[in-house]
């Protein structure tokens, strides 16, 4: 934003912004409580016995009962829930019933791969989808537009694992450009890191690109129809300035919104992509935990992803203010 905004205006905005953030954080508490309760009940009211899973094939009924007792699964539900919430409030996420590892350690080990995948995916997505959407809207009805739209609808139509297999077959097996699987920490060098993350990130990005390119296009079409775009053209500005300075900034809010809600979509993709490319991330951890009825791990992970979802959407809501000075909180 050019020009010196009056300081009182800025101060007022900052105050409202802080108040807003505080309000939003408060408002997310009931959301997380709903999630916590929902997940807890879902897990406990349906069949599944971590003790049987833990003990393996040869356990006798009596041995199972003893293991259940030692895992605390025989406590009444309400007291289990309160214990859990109490632990949460003191920052203790508990230990895995199966491996006995602290849940936070488990999550810590798996965080980096997933985070890397998510960030690289997001970068690829934004770099590709926004220009795609802008051009499609600009050349509305043209061959380019149709091509972009066809690609993005296609992106929605192919299951992630199929995309993954196809990319592996072409780029890793036939062309031998990348390893077929695995993950290397960025700490072990940018080259090894990128060579392993590029294919999964592209795989995951296909859906996301489809989503955001579509939204960008729709938002841009809406905005390109606005009077101020006509004004900008009437001022003799170049199309590039018209599109990116005038139109895109105004289209940013719906696009950002989809970036946020699309996060949930990405999580689904992450689970599958991590399996296909053998990335030891949070997605696999969650699926494995669910299948093993590892209650503390499932609860913590779902709460964590929900929390991240809430935070991302909060950040996005806050970022609206930087995109649009009209928005006050």
């Amino acid at each position: 934003m050019l020009g010196a905004a009056p300081t009182d205006f800025i101060a007022a905005r900052q105050f409202f912004m802080l108040a807003y953030i505080a309000r939003r954080i408060l408002a997310s508490v009931p959301v997380l409580v709903v999630v916590a309760l929902f997940v807890f009940l879902l897990l406990r009211l349906t069949p599944g016995d971590p003790a049987a899973i833990l003990a393996g094939d040869m356990a006798t009924p009596e041995q199972l009962e003893r293991i259940r007792e030692s895992l605390g699964l025989n406590e009444p539900l309400a007291s289990q829930f309160l214990t859990w919430i109490g632990q949460l409030l003191s920052g203790d996420f508990g230990r895995s019933l199966i491996s006995h590892t602290p849940v936070l350690t488990l999550i810590g080990q798996r965080l980096e791969p997933t985070l890397s995948l998510a960030i690289v995916t997001m970068l690829i997505t934004l770099l590709l989808s926004i220009p795609m959407g802008v051009v499609a809207a600009w050349r509305h009805g043209s061959l380019t537009d149709n091509a972009v739209m066809a690609m993005s609808v296609l992106g929605f139509s192919i299951p992630v694992f199929v995309t993954g297999y196809i990319l592996i077959q072409i780029f890793a097996i036939d062309l031998r450009l990348f390893p077929v699987q695995g993950f290397k920490s960025i700490g072990s060098g940018v080259g090894p890191f990128l060579s392993r993350i590029v294919l999964p990130a592209f795989t995951l990005a296909t859906i996301y690109i489809a989503l955001i390119a579509r939204m960008t296009r729709a938002a841009m079409l809406e905005v390109l129809d606005e009077d101020y775009v006509r004004t900008a053209r009437a001022k003799g500005l170049s199309e590039r300035v018209v599109l990116f300075r005038h139109a895109l900034r105004n289209a940013a809010v719906p696009i950002l919104t989809v970036v946020g809600t699309g996060f949930a979509l990405m999580i689904s993709g992450v689970v599958v992509t991590e399996s296909v490319f053998n990335i030891p991330g949070l997605g696999r951890l969650t699926v494995d935990a669910i299948l093993a009825r590892d209650y503390p791990v499932i609860q913590a992970l779902i709460l964590l992803t929900s929390g991240i979802y809430v935070v991302i959407n909060l950040l996005i809501d806050i970022s609206y203010a930087f995109m649009d000075p009209r928005i006050r909180y």
Partner: protein, 537 residues
């Protein structure tokens, strides 16, 4: 998904974090890299989460046990018990067993291994292992005599005791420090001090993803050559990393491109992708392989009636099930012996019905005679573990052909594991039938074989046959003086088990292991172990 999957998993479904470059150039460069470190990267059938090889019978945890613990006794490739940590003597009255520890045994924390450690470990083992529970009924005393010797006294002869203590699978006699072995057998241990050929690198452990083992420099192997779990466990590499790949396709691609050295379980259907690669050897680690079997629930209709159980056995057949499960004649074989073929007690006693199957017409007639009323058979089908998914699907079709009403219920393996423990009626979360697999050493004698327990609702394995006659025969077997006598009793037991349809073996199969040609000296046995293995560059 199959952390605690049944004996085997066709689709190795665990994660890995190995991975080296794929471009040919980089491959060369990296191939040189690990040379200094001498590391074996192995993709195991499952991710390891539980580090207590006593609380669970999961194979991956047993394999972990062999890495970091030594066993009291070993068993050689001729299936003969051999001294490993200890040698033993038996008194003439067969009631007193004296064990003497060999020299040089040391915990990784530097302390020597004592007889007290062994006694505590054996006691914990006795609480969990099925065969050991039987043995411990007759154990009057188990006490250290001095630092290196301890004595086990029995109330009556149990001649199978040494075989039991030397068995390579199920719960082998892993010896832990006394303080660790004192952990109640219903709780997992948290201290991973061992005295085995490898040391567990706890800091690099990622549950479900990866486990790292370093050579235990202080381990003193026996002098004899390695043979199964007996002989010298000489470690010839610096480091072994176990990883898991959830997707079999990915694992096969990874070993094909040299990103890993060892693929414990290779889906037979994917062998064509590997056999052409000159860098790789496809082998089977043991001739014993796996037994796949179906179990019926004796508590509720329709399988509470022996006639209907027999009809079910007649309806099934080994060939179609093996074809769907394996589909490769090199790796599958029909076998009517409940103890596995190629084992000391292998016998054909009583196996006619299953070996001739499927006989839908015969089964139909038997059903009619038994007065089957159409009660649906709830057959549990795991969807997420390749090695147990196909059997119920084929079985459902065969049973239907014979006139059974079958309700094939798909579920994940862990749900099956939970549900099969339920003794409730079918309508309240119970079941009628399921399938699982065993490695042959787990079933190769009437004592080991978990199914051959007639203890009913309290003591028997899932399905809960109430069969006192069977239990009496097992006691006779354990007490039998000679090998010949045992073989006869074993055959009688099998005949009886087939008569009452204790369970239905539906064939044997082997799972190929794919190994890089850089590895040599792999010990061929039913348990994948990493001593004696060399890695060349």
């Amino acid at each position: 998904m199959s952390i605690f999957s049944p004996a085997s998993a066709f689709r190795p479904s665990r994660l890995v974090r190995s991975a080296l470059l794929a471009s040919a150039l980089a491959l060369g460069a990296l191939a040189a890299g690990p040379a200094a470190a001498q590391e074996i990267r192995a993709v195991m059938h499952s991710g390891i989460r539980v580090l207590d090889p006593v609380i669970t019978t999961a194979h991956i945890t047993r394999n972990h046990g062999y890495m970091i613990y030594d066993t009291l006794l070993g068993m050689d490739e001729n299936l003969k018990p051999q001294p490993q940590m200890a040698s033993w003597t038996v008194s003439d009255d067969k009631l007193t067993y004296t064990f003497t520890l060999r020299d040089g045994l040391k915990w990784t924390d530097g302390k020597p291994v004592t007889s007290a450690d062994c006694v505590a470990s054996l006691k914990r083992w006795g609480e969990r292992d099925g065969g050991a529970q039987l043995l411990f009924k007759y154990v009057k005393g188990l006490e250290p005599k001095d630092d290196k010797t301890f004595v086990m006294t029995l109330s009556q002869p149990f001649s199978y005791a040494i075989e039991l203590m030397a068995k390579p699978s199920g719960l082998p006699t892993f010896i832990m420090p006394e303080r660790v072995a004192k952990t109640p057998s219903s709780e997992s241990i948290t201290d991973y001090t061992g005295s085995g050929p490898f040391k567990f690198v706890e800091s690099e452990f990622e549950p479900g993803v990866r486990a790292v083992y370093e050579k235990n420099e202080d381990y003193v192997p026996r002098k004899e050559p390695a043979s199964w779990t007996a002989g010298g466990k000489v470690v010839k590499v610096d480091k072994v990393t176990w990883v898991v790949m959830p997707d079999a396709q990915t694992a096969v691609n990874a070993i094909n491109s040299g990103e890993i050295d060892y693929l414990e379980q290779t889906p037979t259907d994917l062998l064509p992708l590997l056999e052409a690669n000159p860098e790789l050897t496809v082998m089977t680690l043991t001739d014993l392989g796996y037994q796949t079997m179906g179990r019926l629930n004796w508590l509720y209709p329709p399988f509470d009636k022996v006639e209907i159980r027999r009809a079910a056995m007649a309806a099934l057949g080994q060939e179609p099930i093996l074809a769907a499960l394996v589909g490769n004649p090199d790796y599958q074989s029909k076998c009517g012996s409940m103890y596995g073929c190629n084992t000391p007690y292998a016998t054909e006693a009583g196996d006619e019905l299953i070996m001739k199957g499927p006989q839908p017409e015969v089964a139909k007639k038997m059903l009619d005679e038994a007065g089957y009323d159409g009660t649906p058979v709830v057959l549990m089908q795991p969807t997420d573990v390749g090695s147990v998914a196909p059997q119920p699907v084929v079985a459902a079709q065969l049973l239907r052909q014979a006139g059974f009403t079958v309700d094939l219920q798909p579920m994940d393996w862990q749900t099956l594991v939970t549900r099969r423990a339920s003794q409730s009626p079918v309508a309240q979360g119970g079941w009628n039938m399921f399938f699982t697999n065993w490695i042959i050493p787990e079933v190769w004698s009437p004592i080991n074989n978990p199914m051959l327990n007639g203890g009913g609702k309290e003591a028997a394995w899932f399905g809960w046959p109430d069969d006192p006659e069977l239990d009496e025969m097992r006691v006779k077997f354990a007490a039998a003086e000679t090998e010949e006598e045992r073989k006869t009793i074993a055959a009688d037991i099998q005949k009886h088990a087939y008569d009452v349809v204790n369970y239905i073996p539906v064939g044997e199969y082997k799972i190929p292991t794919t190994v890089s040609k850089k590895l040599s000296g792999i010990v061929k046995m039913p348990v994948p172990v990493f001593w004696n293995v060399e890695k060349s560059e």
